[in-house]
Amino acid sequence: MVRTQLADPVLYGFSLALSLGGFVMVHTVRHPGDSLMPVGYGVLVLLSLPVIHLALLRSGFRGDGLVLPVTQTLVGLGLVELYRLQPAGMVRQATWVLVGLGGFLLAYRAASRAERLSRYRYLYAASILVLLASTLLFGVERGGARQWLDLGFASFQPSEVVKVCLVLFLASYLAEHHRLFALRPPQEVERRILVPVAAVLGASLLILVVQRDLGGALLYLSIVLGMVYVGTGRVEYVATGALAFLAGAGVCAALFPHVRARLEVWVDPWRDLAGSGYQLGQALFALASGGIAGAGLGLGYPELIPAVHTDLIFAAIGEELGYAGALGVILLYMLLVTRGFRIALRARRAFSQLLAAGISLVLAAQTLLILGGSVRLIPLTGIPLPFVGYGGSAVVSNFVLLGLLLGVSHHEEALHGRRA
């Protein structure tokens, strides 16, 4: 039998069984007797992923066959844990997943004609500038960070759109200059690279200070440095950029007390456990209480952690599914990122390569930033864990990135008469 011909049914079977079992367990333990409608809705939303996968295959999809099953498992784990923490939040999140799947399909279509996608580079740059500027000017504060735009009927996080535009812009910009960099004199190359690097660096520091959004700042920085490295191979720029950000962050910490407070909590969360260290301290207690096998879904106390469903869902998973579950989640992300880079490696054109690598980098960077914050490797930031943590804008933008990734994958494989 030709396995790669179809979405692997066994893989989807395991994934769905996991989500379904999780829903059953949470429902029995936390919400016995409540309506099963939310669970039914969540399962339906999860089922739409294999349905979309099948529909894509019918229309000749020959891209990567693992990305969607892995994503489904992550989304499923997220919905189950959200159902445990906030059933109403789970329903909202499931709706956002549906919206995200719409975005996924649009992005997939767009990326299937990659050349056209790379043409709008200055549109991306302009959107980034407009979005950043409007957040700085009209941003609404929520949970300590001023990173929301209120549109009257809805509010969203522009940083999630910026993230997508930044990857598209850099892929296009660096691809255009890909050959150039190898041929032109060093001064000109430097100017061409330094402009975007310096611009993003400056914007990151501004975001850090004005919006108090350390996560966003670090995310933009890692995208630009990672993609400049892939596009140009100039390690010295990457190192300079990283050091400049560190120095800038140090100056900010010295000048602005709210930046310093964040760092102090990171260095020693136990000192002010009842106050500023409360969130991180509770997260660490949650992880510790989970042990190896976990308390069992619905049987821990992750609700003790403030903002657990957005920022620290990893700690909730760690508490209720134990280190086994936490490790499983990390391995899922490793799988997803590996597949993303594999798509980049199999692509033949610079723009596709850069785009696929950039998307993998964004997914990896978001995951690493929030996971690192949860286990105190780095300061805690407010980035939702991709596909798992609660956050409408984030889930939609990550599905759009996934659509672009699979679009590139399909396009490149079809172009070379291959199948991923």
Binding site: G281, L284, A288, Y323, A326, A364, L368, G372, L377
Partner: protein, 466 residues
């Protein structure tokens, strides 16, 4: 470019491995320790899932119990302040004390469970019932002891010398553990220190009650026998300071046992000089002074003077229980029990049984024999002398009709105020069933203040304990 993509991917995957290690650090490496950190709110929440076991007296009168009201477990103490120090309290915010703290694992049911049961209940998040603890104490005896103290500061410890079972442990003033939250601020700042368990943690000089140790040492080392004659001129100068008998009265010529009956300080100073400071100190240690008693509640060790301090005529203060020597009422009760047992030490205990809610006994106390520290003959002489002290001497107020009581009073000088009143004793003297130690702070002489308290406790205890 593929090489750089590979390197970036490799770099990121290494970072993921670091995350996995970071999570392993918190969940596997420090996890078990951090999860038990008292600041982890899960511990208290997990406790609320347990229906805590009851604490019962020897006749199964509840001293602490839990009842569930509107899905919340409420801990109540039906005897109020009576057992506040022994039973203690358990409060979600103010913590735990007494047996509520010491027997926590049993009351919660975490001890004594098979790993399978533990795992099953944890996995299912099931509310479970802890074990009941049956104590050796008797509510009636405790009640009488508390009444006999009559609002004065002090402590009473009563034991059964045959196996070391605690019969009563009173510390006054007390507090009501049911009203802990309302009164917490006042209780903590009260100069009378009502939260302190004086029976286990109150430190007092033993005064003349210590003379039984001096006499035991002298008889054991044959430094004197009961009929050895001493002469008491009423005072003696040691290092330029006079040692007086209480009231400054001269006893003249008297035998050793008369000196104990009349509690003559001058005679005991001379006896102490004959025995020598280091040997006297050794005997005090053998009686358990200066060491924390092995008891279910953590207890103070008190203080034994350093060997250098009691060298030469430095033994003077020690020989009649003054100076830097400090003891707890529990220690004095145990010391007395050695004499009641004919020279053998006992191990005190108060948890008689651990039972399931259905009454099935899970664990029963097993008495262990203690070490002999006095010859039977020496213990007999001391007993007879103490019987005389109650019959004719300083301890007359402890006498009971129809029962021989052995006892020794003590009047311990307290800085700046009236002395602490002590009484130690046991009854019936020739077949002891009850040992008692009483201290009343700054209340007067042992004979007048402490002996009547001991009499009431002995009277009731002999009725209750067969």
């Amino acid at each position: 470019m593929t090489g750089r993509i590979r390197r970036l991917a490799g770099f990121l995957l290494v970072l993921f491995v670091l995350q996995a290690l970071g999570a392993a650090y918190w969940q596997v490496w420090v996890g078990p320790r951090l999860a038990q950190d008292p600041r982890n709110p899960r511990l208290l929440l997990a406790e609320e899932q347990v229906e805590r076991g009851s604490i019962l007296d020897r006749n199964h009168v509840p001293l602490a119990r839990t009842h569930v009201e509107a899905r919340r477990a409420i801990r109540e103490y039906p005897t109020g302040p009576l057992f506040a120090h022994l039973v203690g309290y358990r409060h979600p915010r103010l913590g735990k004390a007494g047996l509520e703290a010491a027997q926590d694992g049993i009351l919660l049911g975490t001890a004594e469970r098979t790993p399978w049961e533990e795992w099953r209940d944890r996995a299912l998040g099931r509310r479970r019932r802890g074990f009941d603890v049956v104590l050796t104490v008797d509510r009636e005896i405790q009640q009488v002891a508390a009444q006999a103290l009559g609002g004065r500061r002090g402590a009473v410890v009563a034991l059964d010398p045959r196996d070391g079972a605690l019969l009563a442990m009173v510390s006054a003033p007390s507090f009501d553990p049911n009203l802990l939250e309302q009164n917490w601020a006042v209780l903590r700042q009260d100069p009378a220190r009502p939260l302190l368990n004086r029976a286990t943690h109150g430190l007092y000089p033993p005064g003349s009650t210590f003379k039984v140790v001096t006499m035991a040492a002298a008889l054991s080392r044959r430094a004197a026998d009961p009929d050895t004659r001493f002469f008491c001129p009423g005072f003696v100068l040691v290092r330029g300071r006079p040692i007086l008998d209480f009231g400054g009265r001269a006893h003249g010529s008297l035998t050793l046992w008369e000196a104990l009956v009349w509690s003559c300080n001058v005679t005991f100073f001379q006896l102490g000089m004959r025995v020598g400071g280091s040997i006297l100190r050794e005997f005090a240690a053998a009686f358990g002074l200066g060491e924390a008693p092995a008891f279910e509640l953590p207890s103070e060790a008190g203080h034994l003077p350093d060997p250098e301090e009691v060298a030469g005529d430095g033994v003077a203060q020690l020989s009649f229980g003054q100076g830097s020597l400090l003891v707890t009422p529990l220690q004095m009760a145990l010391l007395t029990a050695v004499l009641a047992r004919g020279g053998v030490r006992i191990r005190p205990y108060t948890v008689a049984q651990v039972r399931t809610a259905e009454g099935e006994v899970v664990e029963r106390h097993r008495a262990k024999s203690g070490e002999r520290i006095l010859a039977e003959e020496v213990a007999r002489v001391l007993r007879d002398t103490m019987v005389e002290a109650v019959a004719y001497g300083t301890g007359r107020a402890a006498a009971l009709p129809g029962v021989a009581v052995a006892g020794k009073t003590g009047t311990a000088t307290a800085s700046g105020g009236p002395p602490h009143a002590w009484f130690i004793g046991f009854a019936p003297a020739y077949q002891p069933r009850v040992v008692v130690a009483v201290v009343v702070e700054r209340a007067g002489t042992g004979g007048r203040v402490a002996a009547p308290v001991a009499r009431e406790v002995l009277r009731r205890a002999l009725e209750r304990v067969r």
